[in-house]
């Protein structure tokens, strides 16, 4: 299988992100800390085949988020994300 076939998008982690943030996150707007471009989370590149989930910018491929779960905890690395904008419930 090619690496490109492993690519999913933000829709694939909608459940996972809602578990963490408790609100719908695929319609949130993500600003990449690398290139500054803004994309809805649903349109981000997602790879779920790593030990954790890796979310990348569709414009510059910078890693925006990494999510690792285990032992009833979650680790969320947002280094590559400058801003997340979302509607308040």
């Amino acid at each position: 299988m090619k690496q490109s076939d492993l690519k999913l998008d933000g829709n694939a982690v909608a459940g996972l992100l809602r578990e963490i943030f408790t609100v719908e996150m695929t319609s949130a707007e993500n600003t990449c800390a690398g290139c500054g471009r803004v994309h809805p989370v649903g349109a981000l590149q997602v790879y779920v085949n790593a030990p954790g989930v890796v979310i990348r910018c569709p414009s510059c491929e910078q890693v925006l988020m990494r999510v690792v779960r285990g032992r009833g905890r979650v680790w969320l690395d947002l280094t590559g994300t400058r801003c997340l904008e979302l509607a308040l419930p």
Binding site: S4, G10, N11, A12, A14, G15, R18, T26, V41, P89
Partner: protein, 250 residues
């Protein structure tokens, strides 16, 4: 309804399978009743979870195929022989079984016909037609007049999911259904017989002047190529919503 469908902590719940619909030789729809179902938006999905006797758990996402108005929740599942979840859902599950799921989930790949009057272009590859079908069924259920075109790519005519229903709905008001059969075509086939390409999209897609809204769903390579072509035809990237199923599911 839209708000209740996206709020609240996600919890696992049980749906009771009340009907199984064999859509093709490898694809079935599971129709479930769910106590306290809050409704959904067309395009959303659910996460389905299986637990083995030894406690091992695994889950997969499946698009909702039913319209919100239908009351019962339907998901359509393609059986992948090397999959972990789909061979159970298509082949083992029988009417009366309970299936664990959470949802509805998602807010990006959803169509809200009350928010926009943009004509709709739906592009589906294989089982990528499932969330688009929820939109089409919703459109019919609310008597929406929003002009809609579906371009749906399948390997053969026997692989076309919802064939009869699409045929029926496609004869109605404002919805046109365009099939392309990429591998084999029945004798006398007059429709498209190749993978989706620029010429095909140019022929089927709404011209830019109508400021259309597009939903593209299917295998990753299918989605990327169709979305790229639409943008090259002048579609606003923000108006081309995509959902990638990857190469396989499970």
């Amino acid at each position: 309804m839209a708000r209740t469908a996206v709020l609240g902590r996600l919890t696992w719940q049980l749906g009771e399978v009340v009907e199984l619909v064999e859509e093709t030789t490898t694809v079935s729809s599971l129709v479930m009743t769910v106590p306290d179902w809050t409704g959904h938006q067309p395009g959303q999905h659910v996460d389905l979870r299986l637990t083995a006797e030894d406690g091992y758990r695994t889950q997969r996402s499946y698009s909702i195929a039913s319209a919100p108005e239908q009351g019962r929740l339907a998901v359509t599942v393609e059986r992948l022989d090397d999959g972990e979840v789909s061979p159970y859902l298509v082949g083992v599950v029988i009417v009366g079984d309970k299936v664990e799921f959470r949802g509805p989930i998602g807010g990006y790949f959803v169509w809200d016909e009350t928010a926009t009057a943009q004509p709709l272009l739906l592009v589906g590859g294989g089982s990528g037609v499932v969330p688009l079908m929820s939109m089409i069924r919703h459109r019919a259920a609310v008597n929406s007049k929003i002009p809609t075109r579906l371009l749906y790519s399948s390997r053969s005519v026997d692989d076309v999911i919802y064939r009869k229903e699409l045929d029926q709905l496609g004869r109605g008001d404002g919805l046109s259904v365009h099939l392309t059969l990429t591998r084999t075509q029945p004798p006398g086939w007059t429709g498209f017989a190749r993978r989706i390409d620029r010429e095909m999209l140019q022929e089927v897609a709404w011209p830019m002047i109508d400021s259309p809204l597009a939903f593209v769903c299917g295998p990753t390579s299918f989605v990327e190529s169709a979305a790229e072509i639409l943008v090259s035809l002048g579609y606003d990237p923000r108006s081309v919503k995509t959902e990638r199923f990857g190469a396989t599911g499970g």
